[in-house]
Chain length 314, copies 4
Amino acid sequence: MSIVLGPNQYGKAEVRLVRVDRDTPRHHITDLSVTSQLRGDFRATHESGDNAGVIATDTQKNTINAFARDGVGSPETFLLRLARHFLTSPQVTGGRWAAEQYGWERIPPGPPTAPGPDGAAPAVGHDHAFVRGAAERRTALVHADDSGLTVLAGLRDVTVLKSTGSEFSGFPRDRYTTLPEVDDRILATDVTAWWRYTPSFTETAGPAEYDERFAAVRAILLEAFANLHSLALQQTVFAMGKAVLEAYPDIAEIRLSCPNNHHFLVDLEPFGLDNPGEVFFAADRPYGLIEAAVQRSGPAVPEHPVWSTIGGFV
Amino acid sequence: MSIVLGPNQYGKAEVRLVRVDRDTPRHHITDLSVTSQLRGDFRATHESGDNAGVIATDTQKNTINAFARDGVGSPETFLLRLARHFLTSPQVTGGRWAAEQYGWERIPPGPPTAPGPDGAAPAVGHDHAFVRGAAERRTALVHADDSGLTVLAGLRDVTVLKSTGSEFSGFPRDRYTTLPEVDDRILATDVTAWWRYTPSFTETAGPAEYDERFAAVRAILLEAFANLHSLALQQTVFAMGKAVLEAYPDIAEIRLSCPNNHHFLVDLEPFGLDNPGEVFFAADRPYGLIEAAVQRSGPAVPEHPVWSTIGGFV
Amino acid sequence: MSIVLGPNQYGKAEVRLVRVDRDTPRHHITDLSVTSQLRGDFRATHESGDNAGVIATDTQKNTINAFARDGVGSPETFLLRLARHFLTSPQVTGGRWAAEQYGWERIPPGPPTAPGPDGAAPAVGHDHAFVRGAAERRTALVHADDSGLTVLAGLRDVTVLKSTGSEFSGFPRDRYTTLPEVDDRILATDVTAWWRYTPSFTETAGPAEYDERFAAVRAILLEAFANLHSLALQQTVFAMGKAVLEAYPDIAEIRLSCPNNHHFLVDLEPFGLDNPGEVFFAADRPYGLIEAAVQRSGPAVPEHPVWSTIGGFV
Amino acid sequence: MSIVLGPNQYGKAEVRLVRVDRDTPRHHITDLSVTSQLRGDFRATHESGDNAGVIATDTQKNTINAFARDGVGSPETFLLRLARHFLTSPQVTGGRWAAEQYGWERIPPGPPTAPGPDGAAPAVGHDHAFVRGAAERRTALVHADDSGLTVLAGLRDVTVLKSTGSEFSGFPRDRYTTLPEVDDRILATDVTAWWRYTPSFTETAGPAEYDERFAAVRAILLEAFANLHSLALQQTVFAMGKAVLEAYPDIAEIRLSCPNNHHFLVDLEPFGLDNPGEVFFAADRPYGLIEAAVQRSGPAVPEHPVWSTIGGFV
């Protein structure tokens, strides 16, 4: 029995790409961190340092920059372009291309510009000055293997909080249980979600469809979080995923990872004060961690291989 | 010559306080990190471990929580309440109380509520579900010494970017200069600013005045950044500060610390492509760092002692 | 076709546990961040908020603390105890228990103590005062599913650098290749590794065996990094893994994830200076990323399910 | 009354410089983050964008790299070289040059080399392969103003812990006090310290003197932390500073900033267990924060201006 190379991938991570679309005086910016990782027949470099088949990670970075010259479009379509390019090299049989996008908003009170195309309302905000939006990021991933290309879209660190409408009770009590039941608590989490588009969606969708769909899914997730009276964070997480699948048949599956960012009611009784749900301590660690996939029923299907490339949940 | 205790302070840092105002079904949340530091006669604990005068840092934390039971108001007024409380202890002759506030926005599309007081437009967004806004933080600081109480307000990590309207040229060239002159570049920074209110403002201002003033100064800073055609980040920084002082006579001074977040135009020529200001690499380190105070002229005044308590600039 | 719950897990993450062994005046400390995640039949809480089967994450935290009262042993054996405890609950059919350990060293120059047991050399360093060692962490993971318990051990963020003995050339050049070939460069990385013990090892190993094995594997990884003349980081990574498998038949497989922390030679020619491999710029992003599994050959085996629970590589 | 520019400085921050000394096969590496900030007459650039006097921050970076070609020496002497260079420009009247140094250790088990010069013991560890040491950093700062050059040396994030030999009691109890007195607790902190050398030291010291002095002061700080039976963290902090001043007359003053990294004894009574100082929870926030200067007595001297350039304490 000898020692052999198993699964492997390599590439360039976190290429910080800012693309300015300046065809008109009203600029648009796309701010991405892009990662490219290739899989294939790379035994020679591992075993003997023979790099004849190794597309240098520096070359992968250059390719990302060069492709951005033609415009980025949506993160998903940009990654698909990269994937198809690298897959033309015979030694590349698969890969993983990922992006995180940072949001920017126009600085008000920029003067209104002229009405947009088709008589749309005048745009608001400055033409070329921007302020960074929320810390959350939009994410995208393209995975290639023998079965073809798979597209995931997602979001990270969407921090949400409900100041009421959440309770937690009815759980079993054993020797190690001290948590009291509560019928009104703060529920807070940082939502990370990944959803997988069906092949029929990815075959036809262009940048506009990916952008619209992202915005719509984000809105559904927030709305479901806000509106469910929550008996457990698990229930909220499942409801968020279910609402997305109900709205869009061309999303095959969604996975969520949600820490329970505990907010503990401070005991003010020693100071002669009550505390009717008003003063909380926001704890750092430890935190609960709830992770779930929401899927469509049917004949039992094996786990899609894309999920093994996503760290951290399920 | 013997060895003695010099300046000193102690307290509790980063008390993570979340206050929910729930007098009506439309909740409001205030999310703060509060630090309390006391100065005074604390020689005995340093020299011999005699703690008879030491208000425990745990007690300072408890006091922060207990005071929040009555409501926070604005960060500035909350810190003033804390300062006045601790200064009643005879051994406390000064101190430093600071806060960082995290922003939350209501989750749309919550149903509109009834018109507000005075016939104002109906509020929008969910009554008790929130999503975290930008990563930037509002900051406040109260400093006490023999001359009384000083109030600073500020903001941190307001990340802004201009995709044009910035150049940099005319600088001297010595043996170590390689930077080319540019007449069009991306200008990007993370604004940190602190401004000092005059005693006349702080004597009368309540929470509403501090909140309104904060919002107004933030808007002026953004607008000045956006609208100046910049010949140097120094010019932009000075213009931002000057605009604030011009607008508000009761702001005595403002200080800004602004990294120059370099965005380097990627050389696409090796790939047979031009790059007319469209594809940039956002660098992490090193970065420029521009720091300046903007003040009112007059008889030369010594540096206000509050500034030695603010790390990191000028 | 309806919408159903897919794979899911939940628990308490990053319980920061510090255990002091103080049976003698010469204390020992174990500093861990422990995560417990349960899998099983948790459909009711997801679908309807019925928590009758939900072992509260707070209870999981309490259990971790209570079990530490009997001593931690090695991270691996501590996690095994937790796993076996939680698996006694009928609704729990699997899970994932993980730990990161922080290193501490005794503060010198503590007075030497008496000779150790068996006439060993006197211990050095202070009896109960410690200083934190390197930023790297030792890691451990226990995974439970229908096929039983699997134990991984690992390390994170072991930052290493070679100032010579590394080159990179012979890679293909396409339209997007600009990287020059180099025959002497700095090679630097932050090693993350996970290795899987065979069932025969985990059935008999106690804390001492896990501790010794961890130290030995770490030493082999460092030595392999140092001693291989590297033609590619891939070659170094494979050699590191191979050296571990060669040394220990009871390690079934090892996976490594290694960023290429680029150190760029600074061009000093504009200043009239040469730079014979002496002045480098340590870049932050982007970075290369090399990931590989090293395995034993044999009849093709499916990927072990434990790997899908480790984020971030292969 | 008009609006004017106040104190200001600008420069390049966090230049990540790695210097390899390779005169012999036994390499030495110096890993620094260097910041250069200039003060002087820079009104024109602030007021009108006239950059005729602005030494570009890019030029400052280049100068740092070029000067490293001649060797770094100690961080203090490297910063002094930079300071003297920039002060030759007439518009530069002062400045602030700072460095953080990261530690590297040789990877064992490199083969022993031949005996060192003067018959010293053979060196141990690999000739050109290194592993990053503790997360702590050595720091240095040179400050220039009208009164000349001042040199500070320091360290950051030296994390230390005593598992016994610490108590806290005798503090006053008011309405907001709930903390129990304890006669045995864990005491843990991350030491940040800055000490100021006298002009007589800096006039003659070379790199070797700065390096030796740094190592000696670090050792004294650790030893004082370890050996004092602590009645308050304030007492420990003062003792640490005092020990340094007692050992070295040419250190004029030292300042320390030490968080109290709380380790709370976990209450195991609900589980029917005692906890005799063995199981602790390491909390993140809030934390105590103790800051003090230790000085030499004498005629009251005003605060040295260098301290206003150090953020975060006293």
